[in-house]
């Protein structure tokens, strides 16, 4: 009962209250900002599965985001696929590449894994940039059709918002179920000590690949949403700096915490927009906020342990508390 109520509250907040507030404060621009934030919420939540929950520091996430965006853009412009097909297709293709590229790195941990994913991100970016015959290289892909269905709705800021908001809800639900379960506990076990986890009978490599695949699927969906809501993409949108931005969102929000990923994306993308009136100083303020949040809230704004308690109470997620199995506080 409580769980249904909590889900209902979230749905009403995202689909009714928030759009209502956005309309009240002036519409267009804030819908656009909310759309961008939504795309990055999906990215941060998905990266959080690899980096936060499984403990593999990935700094190549923008590359997978790019694969998703290009898959959707190429399918939509060359084969005229509608958005409801390109979105899952982008996810599947990205997950496939994620598995393929992750396989060689699965024996790596810590900083070695981070450097390997840095390399992966760069390889993807340079492929998008230099494979001119297929991706149109630095020219980018323009005139990507927006999110529209003939006879039902046409592309607009509100439609973009709802598409992204629904995707955020679906991604949050799926990733929430994944992380707040026995499966999520297994991933955490891999994070804390992979040798110990293996000795307990967990197939560490398989868990790592699975978490990579799930994360890449949602990164691909985020890329597809970006391509359809913006209408133009180029390799410059998927540079290393985007991966770092995603990492920063995770750390500010709280590594391993799903609501933290959402809060991190909202802070690091919302703050620069809110601060536009102060002009040249705004990025300094954003930097200071990041610095202070790490200094005073090293576990993030919404840390993992406190979030687990909330998840258990409000959503009945995480494991069965009565039997005292799994993680005890």
């Amino acid at each position: 009962m409580r769980r249904k109520l909590s889900i209902l509250v979230i749905l009403i907040a995202v689909l009714v209250v928030l759009p209502g507030i956005l309309v009240a404060v002036g519409g267009g621009y804030w819908f656009r900002v909310a759309t961008t934030i939504g795309v990055f919420i999906i990215l941060t939540m998905s990266a959080n599965l690899i980096t936060g929950t499984t403990g593999l520091m990935s700094i190549g996430h923008a590359g997978f985001y790019g694969i998703g965006a290009y898959t959707a853009a190429l399918l939509a412009t060359n084969l005229h696929w509608p958005f409801y097909l390109t979105l899952p297709a982008a996810g599947v293709v990205t997950a496939f590449f994620g598995i393929l590229l992750a396989l060689p790195t699965m024996r790596l941990i810590g900083i070695y894994f981070a450097v390997a994913t840095l390399g992966l991100g760069e390889i993807i970016h340079l492929t998008l940039l230099n494979w001119v015959g297929f991706t149109r290289g630095p020219m980018g892909i323009s005139a990507i059709p927006g999110i529209a269905l003939d006879g039902l709705f046409s592309a607009s800021d509100i439609v973009n918002y709802y598409a992204v908001a629904l995707a955020v809800v679906v991604a949050a639900f799926a990733l929430g179920r994944l992380t707040h379960s026995y499966y999520g506990n297994a991933l955490r076990a891999v994070r804390e000590d992979d040798q110990c986890a293996a000795s307990m009978g967990l197939n560490v490599v398989r868990l790592k690949i699975q978490s990579f695949a799930f994360a890449c699927f949602f990164a691909g969906v985020a890329g597809a949403l970006w391509a359809h809501t913006t209408g133009y993409i180029s390799p410059a949108d998927f540079r290393f700096s985007e991966s770092i931005l995603i990492l920063a969102m995770m750390v500010v929000g709280g590594l391993g915490s799903l609501p933290g990923a959402i809060v991190g994306a909202v802070i690091l993308l919302g703050l620069p927009e809110v601060l536009r009136p102060i002009g040249d100083y705004r990025m300094i303020v954003v930097g200071a906020v990041m610095f202070l949040s790490i200094l005073f809230l090293p576990r993030g704004v919404l840390g993992e342990t406190s979030v687990l308690a909330v998840m258990r109470r409000q959503f009945g997620l995480a494991w069965d508390n009565v039997k005292h199995l799994g993680w005890r506080q």
């Binding site: 961008t36 230099n130 630095p138 980018g140 592309a155 913006t230 180029s234 949108d237």
Partner: protein, 373 residues
């Protein structure tokens, strides 16, 4: 009693409104977005300087009595995701009748998708992507594209006796069009292309590219880059003892190139639309005012932004000043003909919205840009 107050309040409001209207001080605005932070911040700073100069001059000149033009500047960081947000913000602001920006084609095009929807005219001072003005009838640019410049340089190189030419360019949308337009012209006119090399943005070591290029024994090398990479390229070419003639794109026209490359820049042939030492009085006045206000000499990018702002201001006047609407400003911009800019006389093709300008040929001699007749 309440009714009385309500009437009184309404009367006061009405009075205030009509007073405001009779004073006739209406504010209309230009939205300008460019990178003010991030790796292209130096260009955004130049744009802001020039645009501020142009708008201040305009407001002082009294060409639109009773109307003040305001410049609203936003930092795009050179990122598409900021660009689209700003485009949306400008579109929501009813005082903004035209937008200028962004610096790179990528951000300009992403923002352009928004402007096409919201029907706000957009003029980019530097976006040279072939598809930029094809987005919608609301996109304009006042920079000549490579389909115009590259054939001119190719013709020049062939006339100077270079038959075998190698091309080196930066790997971005602009570099792609540098190469394709040049190669097509040379091949069609009896020349030979020995090699085409693209380098990734941020490259500082060109020795491997130079060695590879030298193997084809070209008579000349055509370089498409900006001054930072360009000066490194020119220095390393001299260090490796290569003696080929050098041709370059107009983007290399900068005092910084002379400072950074030193004697290695000598004998570089290039074209430009803006010339610092031009004898024309309006260019002289611009250079003088800019230097007096900002303490440095303007370059091609500053000049492009100055012209872009003035083209928009002229369109504001033509569209009726206080009564101007976005649609009227768009039509006035499309009708731009023989605009006497500091980067040359500019006309927009009313259909394709592509600019036409005269290019000036230059050669670097003894560390100075010298006009080639």
């Amino acid at each position: 009693m309440t009714k009385y107050y309500r009437t009184l309040f309404a009367t006061i409001c009405l009075a205030a409104f009509s007073c405001g209207a009779s004073a006739q001080n209406k504010t209309i605005a230009i939205g300008y977005h460019a990178p003010l932070s991030g790796e292209n911040a130096q260009y955004g700073a130049l744009f802001r300087n020039s645009a501020t100069l142009a708008v201040d001059e305009f407001n002082k000149s009294g060409r639109l009595p009773g109307v003040t033009v305001q410049l609203k500047f936003e930092d795009s960081k050179g990122e598409s995701k900021e660009g689209v947000n700003i485009a949306r913000k400008f579109s929501d602001d009813p005082s903004i009748l035209a937008a200028i920006g962004d610096f790179s084609s990528g951000v300009s095009m992403a923002a352009g998708q928004v402007y096409a929807q919201t029907k706000l005219p957009q003029l980019s001072q530097t976006a040279s992507h072939p598809d930029f003005v094809k987005i919608s009838e609301y996109q304009f640019r006042n920079i000549t594209t490579m389909s115009y410049e590259s054939p001119l340089i190719a013709k020049w190189a062939l006339a100077n006796g270079a038959k075998k030419i190698a091309v080196v360019a930066i790997q971005n949308d602009w570099g792609q069009s540098v190469v394709s337009n040049f190669v097509d012209y040379v091949k069609a006119n009896g020349g030979e292309i020995t090699d085409v090399e693209m380098f990734n943005p941020g490259t500082r070591d060109f020795r491997s590219i130079l060695t590879k290029v030298a193997r084809g024994k070209p008579d000349a090398i055509y370089l498409g880059s900006f001054y930072e990479d360009g000066s490194a390229f020119l220095q390393q070419k001299v260090q490796l003892g290569l003696k080929q003639q050098m041709y370059g794109t107009s983007s290399l026209y900068s005092q910084k190139l002379l400072e950074l490359a030193g004697p290695a820049a000598n004998n570089l042939n290039l074209s430009t639309t803006f010339m610092l030492d031009s004898p024309e009085p309006h260019v002289k006045a611009f250079v003088k005012d800019y230097e007096a206000r900002y303490g440095s000499k303007p370059d091609m990018f500053a000049a492009q932004a100055y012209d872009a702002t003035n083209i928009v201001l002229k369109a504001f006047v033509a569209a009726g000043g206080a009564n101007a609407t976005r649609a009227k400003v768009r039509d006035a911009m499309a009708a731009t003909k023989d605009f006497p800019g500091v980067t040359g006389v500019t006309s927009f093709d009313p259909k394709t919205r592509e600019p036409a300008k005269l290019l000036t040929k230059l050669e670097i001699q003894n560390g100075k840009f010298v006009l080639v007749k």
